[in-house]
C-alpha cells in the first residue's frame, strides 16, 4: 500500500478538463455568493426599516410633548389666541417661539385665526379637512412636506376656547434629520455591500476548494491506476463522512478490479501452460523421430502420437472458445421444455460402451415426467461432462449411478451422479469448478483431461438458475448434486419410479 502525496498537474486542477464555468468549485462558490448577497441585502433592508421606525417613534414622542406644552401656553379668549408666557423669562419666550414655528389655529368653520409662516409653505388645511379632524375623538398625526420637500410630522386636533368652542389646532416638527440619517445609513451600507460580497466570494472559493480537494485526490489516484499498479489505495481521512464513503467505495472497486485482473492473468498463464505442454510433446516426438528413427514403424508411432496430441490441443482450443463464449454471454441458451429423465437416459446410453470397456457398472434411476425449461445441448453436455468425470476417477470394477428425482424443496428437480471411485480430498473440493484445476494423485498421475469440464458444468448449471454441490470422501467416491428449477406444471404424469438399468 502506498499513500499518494504527489499530484499530477492535470489532475490537480480539474477546471482544465471540465471548463471553468462548469467546475464544481466555481458553482459552489457562485451559490455561496448568491446566498450571501440575498442575506446581506435582507439584513440591510431590515436594519433600515428598524432605524426609520425607531426615529419616527422618537419624533412622535417629542411632538406629543410639544403638543402638551403648546396646549398649556395657548388660551383662546373671545375667538383670539393668546400665548401665555412670562415675557421676563427669556427661556419661556424662546419655548413659545419654538412651539409656534410650525402651527395653525382655526375655528370650526375652517377660518384660520393664526398660523406660522412655515405652515403656509406646508399648505393650509381645507375647511373639510378641519371639520373631519374636529370630529375625531383623538388628535391625528401625519407627515406632510413643504414646498421645498422638507418633511414635517404634524399633530392635528382641537383645543377648547374660553366659551367651550372647539378650535382646530395643528403643531408640526421637522423630521428631515431622521430621513437624512436613514438615507446615509442606506447609502453607506450598500456602498460596502459589494466589498462584503467579494470577501464572501473569496471565502467561498477557499471553502469549496477545501471541500473538493479530496475529490481531486480521488481523481488523481484514479488517473494513476493501470493494470499493473492496482494495489494503489487512497488513504482514508478518518472523518467518517461522505468523502470517506466515496474513498472506501473507490478502494473496494480497486480491490475487485485487482482480483479480476489476477484471475485473467492466472487464466492466461494456465492457458499458455495447457497449450505449451502438448505442443512440446508434438514437436519433441517429431524431432526425435526425425533424428533417431530408422524403421518406418518408429516414424509411424511418432506421427500417431503427435496426431493424438494435436487432437488434444484442438479440444483444448475448442473448450476454451466455448467457455469464453459462455462467459462473455455470446452463447445463447435455447430453452425448451425438456423431460430431464429422458435426456439423462439418452446420455447414459451413450456412455455404456466406454463404461463397459473400463469395466465400470453404469446404472440409472430415472423418474420420468420431471420437466425443466432448459437448453437440450447444454444439459446433455453437462451430464456427459459429469459422467466422463465420474468414469475417469472410478477404477475398474467400480460403480457409477445416475438419478433424477424430486428435490426436498418444492419446485426443484435433483440430478445426482454418484461414483465409488477415488474421491476428492477435502482441500481440493473448493477448487474443482475452477478452470484448469485438476486433482492429481497417485492413481490419476498421468491422466489426461483439460480441467475445463467441471467449470463448464458449473456455468451451465448457473445459466439455468440452478445450483451444484459436491460431496466426496477420498477412497470412497464422490456425489455431484445438480438442482434445477422445475418447469411450471410440476409432474405431467405421476408414474411409479422406474429403475432403468441400461
Amino acid at each position: 500500500m502506498r499513500s499518494l502525496r504527489r499530484w499530477k498537474p492535470e489532475a490537480q486542477n480539474p477546471t482544465s478538463r471540465t471548463g471553468f464555468l462548469r467546475s464544481l468549485r466555481f458553482r459552489l462558490t457562485l451559490s455561496y455568493v448568491l446566498f450571501f448577497s440575498v442575506l446581506l441585502i435582507g439584513i440591510g433592508l431590515l436594519f433600515q426599516k428598524t432605524l426609520q421606525l425607531g426615529m419616527d417613534d422618537d419624533s412622535r414622542a417629542a411632538l406629543e410633548e410639544e403638543w402638551g406644552a403648546a396646549k398649556g401656553y395657548l388660551h383662546i379668549e373671545g375667538g383670539k389666541p393668546v400665548w401665555i408666557a412670562d415675557p421676563t423669562d427669556p427661556e419661556e419666550a424662546y419655548i413659545v417661539e419654538r412651539l409656534r414655528h410650525v402651527y395653525i389655529l382655526a375655528d370650526y368653520n375652517g377660518k384660520v385665526l393664526e398660523h406660522s409662516q412655515t405652515y403656509d409653505s406646508i399648505g393650509i388645511d381645507s375647511p373639510q379637512e378641519i371639520g373631519r379632524i374636529l370630529n375625531l375623538p383623538m388628535p391625528e398625526i401625519h407627515v406632510r412636506r413643504d414646498a421645498e420637500g422638507v418633511p414635517y410630522m404634524i399633530k392635528a386636533g382641537y383645543v377648547r376656547g374660553d366659551k367651550g368652542h372647539p378650535y382646530f389646532f395643528a403643531l408640526g416638527r421637522s423630521i428631515q434629520g431622521n430621513e437624512r440619517t436613514v438615507a446615509n445609513f442606506t447609502k453607506n451600507y450598500f456602498l460596502i455591500l459589494p466589498g462584503l460580497i467579494f470577501v464572501a466570494g473569496l471565502l467561498g472559493w477557499a471553502l469549496a476548494g477545501r471541500a473538493i480537494r479530496p475529490l481531486n485526490l480521488v481523481a488523481a489516484t484514479a488517473q494513476e491506476i493501470t493494470g499493473s499498479n492496482l494495489s494503489l489505495r487512497i488513504p482514508r481521512r478518518n472523518a467518517n463522512d461522505e468523502l470517506d464513503n466515496l474513498i472506501d467505495a473507490f478502494n473496494r472497486m480497486t480491490v475487485r478490479l485487482s482480483e479480476s485482473f489476477d484471475q485473467i492473468r492466472q487464466f492466461s498463464t494456465d492457458v499458455s501452460h495447457e497449450l505449451r505442454t502438448p505442443l512440446t510433446a508434438i514437436r519433441g516426438q517429431l524431432e526425435v523421430a526425425l533424428f533417431t528413427a530408422e524403421k518406418p514403424d518408429q516414424f509411424r508411432d511418432a506421427m500417431v502420437n503427435a496426431l493424438e496430441d494435436v487432437e488434444k490441443l484442438s479440444s483444448i482450443v475448442r473448450a476454451l472458445l466455448l467457455l469464453s463464449q459462455a462467459e462473455s454471454g455470446q452463447l445463447v441458451l435455447q430453452k425448451t421444455r425438456l423431460d430431464l429423465g429422458e435426456v439423462v437416459a439418452d446420455v447414459v446410453d451413450q456412455f455404456q460402451i466406454p463404461a463397459d470397456e473400463k469395466n465400470v457398472k453404469l446404472t440409472a434411476t430415472l423418474e420420468p415426467g420431471w420437466m425443466a425449461n432448459a437448453d437440450r445441448t447444454q444439459v446433455e453436455r453437462m451430464i456427459s461432462n459429469l459422467l466422463s468425470n465420474a468414469l475417469k476417477y472410478t477404477p475398474k470394477g467400480g460403480k457409477v449411478h445416475v438419478s433424477v428425482h424430486r428435490d426436498p424443496e418444492e419446485g426443484w428437480i435433483r440430478l445426482e451422479v454418484e461414483d465409488n471411485g477415488v474421491g476428492i480430498p477435502a482441500e481440493n473440493l473448493p477448487h474443482i469448478f475452477d478452470r484448469f484445476y485438476r486433482v492429481r494423485n497417485a492413481q490419476t498421475n498421468y491422466t489426461q483431461g483439460l480441467g475445463l469440464g467441471l467449470s463448464f458444468v458449473s456455468w451451465i448449471v448457473s445459466a439455468h438458475d440452478g445450483a451444484i454441490q459436491v460431496e466426496s470422501k477420498p477412497g470412497a467416491g464422490s456425489r455431484f448434486i445438480v438442482r434445477l428449477p422445475a418447469a411450471m406444471a410440476l409432474r405431467e404424469s405421476a408414474s411409479e419410479p422406474a429403475t432403468t438399468t441400461v
Binding site: 501452460h273 505449451r276 512440446t280 492429481r440
Partner: protein
C-alpha cells in the same frame, strides 16, 4: 553419462529419453518430485532435466532439495512459464540452465552437451588447431599471427572454443555473451559470426567456424575430427 529426466507428462518424458538414449546417454525418468529425490539420493547423475510443473511438489522445491546435497549435478529446468521473473528465479535457486516449453529438441541437446562439459577444469589457454586464445591476456593468435577482436567477438570465440566440436544455438550464444534472453538478438549472432569468420577463417584453408543447420554454430579444426553433431 547418466541423465535423470523429471517430467510428469508421459509423452514428453518418452521422447526425451528416446532422444537422449540414441545420443548415447543413459536416461532414467521420474514422474514426480518424491521419486526424483529418491533417485537422486540413490544414484549419481551427471545431469538432471527438471520440469517445474510436477504433480506432488513444485519443481523449485525439488531443485532446492537437490542443491542442499554435498555434490549435486547440473540442473536444466524445463518450464511452461516463460516470464523473465520465473527464469531469473530458477537460475537464482541454483539451476544451471532454463528452457521454455515448447523447445526444439536440438536446442535441448546442445544445452545438455554444454552442461555435461561443465565441471571440467577450464584452462587459461584454449587451443584448437593452430588457433589459440589466451583467456587471461585476452589475446588471440592463429598460426602465430596476432588477431585483434572486439570484446563481444572475443567472448563468442571463447565460448565456441571452450565447447569445441559441440554445436551451440544462437539463443545459447546470446544468453552467454549478452547475459540476456532477447529473441530479437539472435540475428546479431549471425553478424558477429560473419565478422569473426573474416578475422580468423578467411585467410586460412581450414575453416573452423561451421554453420550447423537448424541450431547455430560450432567451432572445430579439420586437424581433429569433430564429435558427431547430433
Amino acid at each position: 553419462m547418466r541423465i535423470l529426466v523429471v517430467e510428469d507428462e508421459k509423452r514428453i518424458a518418452d521422447f526425451l529419453s528416446r532422444g537422449l538414449e540414441s545420443g548415447g546417454y543413459t536416461v532414467d525418468v521420474a514422474g514426480d518430485g518424491t521419486t526424483a529425490l529418491e533417485m537422486v539420493h540413490a544414484t549419481e547423475y551427471d545431469l538432471i532435466i527438471l520440469d517445474l510443473g510436477l504433480p506432488d511438489m513444485d519443481g523449485m522445491a525439488v531443485l532446492k532439495k537437490i542443491r542442499t546435497r554435498k555434490t549435486s549435478p547440473p540442473v536444466l529446468i524445463l518450464s511452461a512459464r516463460d516470464a523473465v521473473d520465473d527464469r531469473v528465479k530458477g537460475l537464482e535457486t541454483g539451476a544451471d540452465d532454463y528452457l521454455v516449453k515448447p523447445f526444439a529438441y536440438v536446442e535441448l541437446l546442445a544445452r545438455v552437451r554444454v552442461l555435461l562439459r561443465r565441471g571440467q577444469p577450464t584452462p587459461e589457454r584454449l587451443q584448437v588447431g593452430d588457433l589459440s586464445l589466451d583467456c587471461i591476456r585476452r589475446k588471440v593468435t592463429r598460426g602465430g599471427e596476432n588477431i585483434e577482436l572486439a570484446p563481444k567477438e572475443f567472448s563468442i570465440l571463447e565460448y565456441l572454443m571452450r565447447n569445441r566440436g559441440r554445436p551451440l544455438s544462437r539463443t545459447m550464444i546470446v544468453e552467454h555473451v549478452w547475459d540476456m534472453d532477447y529473441d530479437g538478438l539472435t540475428n546479431i549472432v549471425d553478424v558477429y559470426i560473419r565478422h569473426l569468420r573474416s578475422k580468423i577463417d578467411e585467410k586460412w584453408p581450414d575453416k573452423m567456424i561451421q554453420t550447423v543447420r537448424g541450431i547455430g554454430y560450432m567451432l572445430d579444426s579439420a586437424e581433429r575430427p569433430a564429435e558427431k553433431a547430433i
